[in-house]
C-alpha cells in the first residue's frame, strides 16, 4: 500500500490547544468546582525532625464550617506504596515509615501532620490554628557529608545509618589506566539544591461517591495510571474503583511525577462522602514539592598530554532529602548517573562510586534530568578542568574523545546503548555560531579594557524514553484510534498535557497516517476511564513511546480501512490507496470514498454486515484499534551491563557571559544551541521547550537556591527568597539550530527532547564563568557574592 509522503510531521503547525489557554477556558484542577465540594488545608510540621507525642483536633472540630479532620491516626495501615522497586538495586526501605500524614515522626519542615476539610479555603486555614500538636524535637540531619559519615541522628530507626543506597559500577581496568596516564587531574563540584516549581502547584480534587463506591480524582500530575495504581495500593482500594484524570497540568518538568499528596484529599473525601479539593500554596510548594540536584562529586581523570581520556573515577554523595523511594523515586538517580556519567565520550575504563543519603529536607525527585543532569556534569567538569591544566582548547578535548558518527548504535562501557547522533557536527555548528576564533580574540581585547567575558561550551547526551527492566519504569504505552461515522478521527492516550502540545503533535502524526489534516483529529488524553494504559509523561516518553503506539495503531487501523474500502468499491485490497483522506482505486481515482463516507457506511448504514469483508466481520469488526508499544532497545532482563533508555537526543551548547568583577554579577550575553532530537514532529514546539529548559538551567545556576539552616529550617519559602528568572534575565541573543539523526528504534525516528534544555545549560554557564576568570568553579550557585570570591581568588593567582 502506497504511503503518501509526510505532510504534517516536521511542520511547525500552530497549536490547536492555544485558544483555550489564551482565553482562560482551559480547565486546571483548581478551576473545578463540584456540588458540596469542601476545601482542604494541611497542617505541616514546623520541625525538621521530631517525634509526635500528641495531636489534638478537638478545638478545631468545633469551628463552624469544618466538616472533617484527619491525622496520622487515620493513616495507620495506609503506608505509601513504594515507587522505586528494582530487584537489582538494593536500597533501604522507607515503606514502614511512610505515610501521607505523619504517624509518629516528622522528618522535614513541611511534612503533613493533619488535614482539614471545610466549606471554604478561609475557614479551613482558620481551623489549622486550633489544632494542637506536641512534638519532641530531635537533632536534624542537614549536611549530606555528615549523614554519610555516620553518627548523626537516624531518620529511620530500622536502618543502621542514613544512607539509603550505595551503588557502584565499573568497567575496563581503571587501575591500569591511571598507571599509564601521562597526567592525572582531580577536581570536585558541589551543586546546590534547586527544583522546577511550575507556576501551577499541586492541585487535587478527590470525589468519593459512597453510592457508587467509586473514587474519582482530578489531579495536576504527570502520570494518571501510576497515580491510580499507587493510590489503590496505598488506600487498599481495588484499582478498578478509582478514576484518575489530569485535565490540564500547569507545568511539570518532573515535579509532578510523584504520587502521595493525593492520598490526603482522597481519604477526606472517603470519610465525608463529599468532593474535597486541595490546592497547594506556594510556601507548601517550595518546601514540600520534590527538590532536586544537591550532590557533591569528586572526580579524577587519567589522560594523555594530548587530551585523550584513558580512565575516569568519580565518587558522589547525593542528598535525597528525607527519602527517595515512596513519595517519588529518586534513588533511581544513582543508576542513571552510573549509566550516563561518561556522556558522549568513548571511555573504556571507569569507576563510579555513588551514594544517596537521607536528610531532614523535602524529598528529592524528578526535575528535568533525574540524574542525567548530574551525569552531564561528570565529564563536562572534567573536560573544563583538563582544558586549563593541559592548556588545550576544550573543544579539542571533546573532539578527541567523542563517540564518532559511524560508531552508532554505540554500546557505552556502562552498558547504555546510544542509538544515533553526530556530536562533532553539533560542536562544529556551535563553534561557528560563536565565531569562536574571533570571539576569543575579542575576549582578550576586552580584558585590556577591564571587561571580562567568558565563553562556555558543553556537549550533552539526553537519554530519553526510559525503560528500566524489572522496575516500574518499563511499562508500555498505548494508543486507541477510532474513525467516526459522521466525521473525524479520535485518538485516546494516557498521556497528560503539561505544555508539550500533544493535542497538536499527536494530531499531526495521525493526520499523516490517514492523509487528513490535524483539524480532523481530536486528541483525548489524561483519563484512566477513557485512555488505554500508559505510564506517564516523563523522560520524553510522548515523542518516543506514545508516538510509536499511535503510529502502530494507525497503521493497523489503516489496513482495516483499506480492506473495507476495497470491499465497498468492489476491488482487491491491493488496488486501493489512502490519499487526501480518501480510499481511492489506484487505477481510477474517481472511484473513491472519503473516510467519513466509509465510516458512515461501515458503522450505521448500510452497516457492517454488508460493508465489511467476511474475514474481518467475524473477527474484529470495529473501526478502531488499540495498540501497545514497547521499545526494542532496552533488554528484557536486569543485568549489568544493560541499557535503560530508548533514544539519545544530544546537543552542543555555548554561551558568552560577562562578569562584573566589582560586584560578581554574571550576565548572559549570548546563548547558542545545536540540537539533535532525531526526526521532529513540530520544530517550533521543540525549540520553545528547549529555550524554556535553558532558562531553567540559567536560573538554577545564577539565581535559584533552596536553602536550609543548620536546624533544617527552610530559608527559601516564597518567591521573594527563591528567585526564578523573569523576562529581564533572558540572554540578549539566543540562537537555536538543529540537525536530525533519526532514531533507529522508533517508527518515525523521533527521539524526544523534554529534559535536555535544563540539563546542559548549568554546565555551559559554569564553564563560561570559569573561562572569564581562568579558574575552576567548585560549587554553585554562581550568585554575585560567590563569583566575587572567585574574582578575588583569580586576582590572588594573578589570573586577572
Amino acid at each position: 500500500m502506497a504511503q503518501t509522503s509526510t505532510k504534517w510531521v516536521g511542520m511547525s503547525v500552530p497549536r490547536k490547544e492555544d485558544a483555550k489557554f489564551l482565553t482562560g477556558r482551559a480547565t486546571f484542577v483548581d478551576d473545578m468546582k463540584m456540588h458540596g465540594m469542601l476545601y482542604c488545608a494541611i497542617l505541616r510540621s514546623p520541625y525538621a525532625h521530631a517525634r509526635i507525642r500528641k495531636v489534638d483536633v478537638s478545638e478545631a472540630r468545633k469551628i463552624p464550617g469544618v466538616v472533617a479532620i484527619i491525622t496520622g491516626e487515620d493513616m495507620k495501615g495506609y503506608n505509601l506504596a513504594p515507587q522505586a522497586e528494582m530487584p537489582g538495586f538494593k536500597f533501604k526501605p522507607v515503606g514502614p515509615y511512610a505515610f501521607a500524614l505523619a504517624v509518629d515522626k516528622v522528618r522535614f519542615v513541611g511534612e503533613p501532620v493533619a488535614a482539614v476539610a471545610a466549606v471554604d479555603r478561609y475557614v479551613a486555614e482558620d481551623a489549622l490554628e486550633f489544632i494542637k500538636v506536641e512534638y519532641d524535637p530531635l537533632p536534624a540531619v542537614v549536611d549530606a557529608k555528615k549523614a554519610m559519615e555516620g553518627g548523626s541522628s537516624l531518620l529511620y530507626e530500622g536502618w543502621e545509618d542514613n544512607i539509603q543506597l550505595s551503588f557502584a559500577t565499573s568497567a575496563g581496568d581503571v587501575d591500569k589506566a591511571f598507571k599509564e596516564a601521562e597526567r592525572i587531574i582531580k577536581g570536585e563540584i558541589s551543586e546546590h539544591r534547586y527544583s522546577g516549581f511550575p507556576i501551577e502547584g499541586r492541585a487535587i480534587l478527590a470525589s468519593y461517591n459512597p453510592a457508587e463506591d467509586k473514587l474519582e480524582v482530578w489531579t495536576a500530575t504527570q502520570g494518571i495510571f501510576q497515580a491510580r495504581y499507587y493510590l489503590a495500593r496505598t488506600l487498599k482500594i481495588p484499582e478498578h474503583k478509582i478514576r484518575v484524570v489530569a485535565p490540564n497540568t500547569g507545568g511539570g518538568y518532573g515535579n509532578k511525577l510523584n504520587f502521595w499528596v493525593e492520598v490526603i484529599p482522597a481519604l477526606l473525601s472517603i470519610k465525608t462522602g463529599r468532593p474535597v479539593k486541595f490546592t497547594e500554596n506556594r510556601i507548601e510548594s517550595l518546601t514540600s514539592m520534590p527538590h532536586s540536584r544537591d550532590y557533591r562529586q569528586e572526580f579524577e581523570v587519567a589522560c594523555k598530554k594530548d587530551g585523550t581520556i584513558l580512565g575516569v573515577k568519580m565518587k558522589m554523595i547525593l542528598d535525597l532529602g528525607m527519602e527517595g523511594s515512596n513519595r517519588g523515586s529518586s534513588v533511581k538517580m544513582l543508576l542513571i548517573v552510573n549509566k550516563f556519567g561518561l556522556g558522549p565520550y568513548k571511555i573504556h575504563n571507569y569507576n563510579f562510586d555513588t551514594h544517596a543519603v537521607v536528610t531532614n529536607k523535602s524529598f528529592g525527585c524528578a526535575y528535568r534530568g533525574f540524574g542525567k543532569d548530574i551525569a552531564n556534569r561528570v565529564m563536562e567538569r572534567i573536560i573544563s578542568k583538563m582544558s586549563r591544566e593541559l592548556d588545550i582548547p576544550p573543544e579539542e578535548i571533546r573532539r578527541k574523545n567523542f563517540i564518532q558518527p559511524h560508531e552508532f548504535p554505540y554500546r557505552q562501557a556502562t552498558g547504555a546503548l546510544y542509538d544515533s547522533g553526530n556530536y562533532p557536527e553539533l560542536l562544529n555548528r556551535v563553534m561557528k555560531k560563536l565565531d569562536l576564533g574571533n570571539l576569543r580574540k575579542e575576549k582578550e581585547k576586552l580584558r585590556k579594557e577591564g571587561r571580562y567575558i567568558g565563553i562556555g561550551l558543553s556537549s550533552m547526551v539526553e537519554p530519553a524514553g526510559a525503560a528500566v527492566p524489572e522496575s516500574v519504569v518499563n511499562g508500555v504505552e498505548g494508543a486507541n484510534v477510532r474513525i467516526n461515522p459522521e466525521g473525524g478521527i479520535t485518538l485516546r492516550v494516557a498521556h497528560t498535557n503539561i505544555g508539550q502540545g500533544i493535542e497538536t503533535t499527536f494530531a499531526q502524526v495521525v493526520a499523516d497516517e490517514f492523509t487528513v489534516t490535524p483539524d480532523d483529529v481530536r486528541v483525548i488524553y489524561g483519563d484512566t476511564d477513557m485512555s488505554p494504559f500508559g505510564l506517564g509523561t516523563f523522560s520524553s516518553r510522548g515523542a518516543v513511546w506514545v508516538v510509536a503506539a499511535i503510529v502502530t495503531a494507525c497503521r493497523k487501523l489503516k489496513e482495516k480501512v483499506l480492506k473495507i474500502g476495497a470491499h465497498i468499491l468492489k476491488v482487491k485490497p491491493e488496488e486501493v490507496e489512502l490519499r487526501d483522506g480518501r480510499v481511492s482505486v489506484i487505477e481510477d481515482p474517481s472511484k473513491s470514498l472519503t473516510l467519513k463516507e466509509l465510516a458512515g457506511k461501515a458503522t450505521y448504514w448500510p452497516g457492517p454486515l454488508t460493508t465489511w469483508p467476511k474475514d474481518l466481520l467475524y473477527t474484529d469488526p470495529g473501526l478502531e484499534v488499540t495498540c501497545y508499544w514497547t521499545s526494542p532497545n532496552p533488554p528484557t532482563s536486569w543485568e549489568l551491563p544493560s541499557n535503560i533508555y530508548t533514544t539519545n537526543p544530544s546537543s552542543c551548547e555555548g554561551a558568552v557571559v560577562e562578569v562584573d568583577i566589582e560586584t560578581g554579577k554574571v550576565k548572559v550575553l549570548k546563548y547558542v544551541v545545536a540540537h539533535d532530537c532525531g526526526n521532529v514532529i513540530n520544530p517550533m514546539i521543540v525549540q520553545n521547550q528547549f529555550i524554556g529548559g535553558t532558562m531553567q538551567g540559567i536560573g538554577g545556576t545564577l539565581y535559584e537556591e533552596i536553602k536550609y539552616d543548620e536546624n533544617g529550617q527552610p530559608l527559601t519559602t516564597t518567591f521573594m527568597d527563591y528567585l526564578m528568572p523573569t523576562a529581564k534575565e533572558v540572554p540578549e541573543i539566543y540562537d537555536f539550530d538543529s540537525i536530525h539523526t533519526p532514531a533507529p528504534f522508533t517508527p518515525l525516528g523521533t527521539k524526544g527532547m523534554g529534559e535536555g534544555g535544563a540539563m546542559c545549560s548549568p554546565s555551559v554557564i559554569t564553564h563560561a564563568v570559569e573561562d572569564a576568570l581562568g579558574l575552576t568553579v567548585k560549587k554553585t550557585p554562581l550568585k554575585p557574592e560567590t563569583v566575587l570570591e572567585l574574582v578575588k581568588e583569580a586576582r590572588q593567582k594573578g589570573l586577572l
Binding site: S12, F21, T23, Y122, I199, N248, T279, Q689, M720
Partner: protein, 152 residues
C-alpha cells in the same frame, strides 16, 4: 462590580481576596493562582483600566470597579489580536501563565503601541513563566503591537 461587561453583586467577608471572589464566587477562572504573594503575575487582571495583581487586593476594595479578565478579550471562537499573536508565535506551552501574560500585554499596548524590546521585557517582568523561557512571548508581544498598530 462589573467584570467583562457584566454587572455582579456579592456579599463577602472583607478578607476575601479579589482573585478568590472572581474564581470561586463568580466562576471566572481565567486569572490563576500561582503564588498568592504577588510575585508570579498569574492573577493579573485589568482593574479600572490598569493591570493589577488580584491576589493582593481584597474583593471589597474592588466594589464599584470595572474589571477585565482574559475571558473578556474573546470567548475563544475568535481570538483578540494579542491572543492571535501569542498563538502564531508559539508563546503558549502549559498555558497556566498565559492569561496573566495576555493581560500584561494588554496593559503595555494600551500605553505604548510601539514598545522597544526593553519595554516589552519590563512589561512582562512581573509574570513568571517556567515553560517558555520568555523568548517566544517577547516575539508574540512585538507581533501583537504590530497587529494593533496596523488595525489602527
Amino acid at each position: 462590580m462589573t467584570v467583562n461587561g457584566v454587572p455582579y453583586m456579592g456579599t463577602v467577608e472583607p478578607r476575601t481576596l479579589l482573585i478568590d471572589f472572581l474564581r470561586d464566587d463568580l466562576g471566572i477562572a481565567g486569572p490563576k493562582i500561582g503564588c498568592i504573594e504577588g510575585k508570579c503575575g498569574a492573577c493579573t487582571v485589568i482593574l479600572n483600566g490598569v493591570s493589577v495583581l488580584s491576589c493582593m487586593i481584597f474583593a471589597v476594595q474592588a466594589d464599584g470597579a470595572d474589571i477585565l479578565t482574559v475571558e473578556g478579550l474573546s470567548d475563544g471562537s475568535k481570538l483578540h489580536l494579542i491572543q492571535e499573536a501569542f498563538k502564531e508565535n508559539f508563546a503558549v506551552q502549559c498555558g497556566y501563565c498565559s492569561p496573566g501574560m495576555v493581560m500584561s500585554t494588554y496593559q503595555l499596548l494600551k500605553r505604548n503601541l510601539n514598545p522597544t524590546e526593553e519595554a516589552i521585557k519590563d512589561a512582562i517582568s512581573g509574570n513568571l513563566c517556567r515553560c517558555s523561557g520568555y523568548l517566544s512571548i517577547i516575539n508574540a508581544v512585538k507581533d501583537a503591537a504590530k497587529k494593533m498598530r496596523e488595525q489602527g
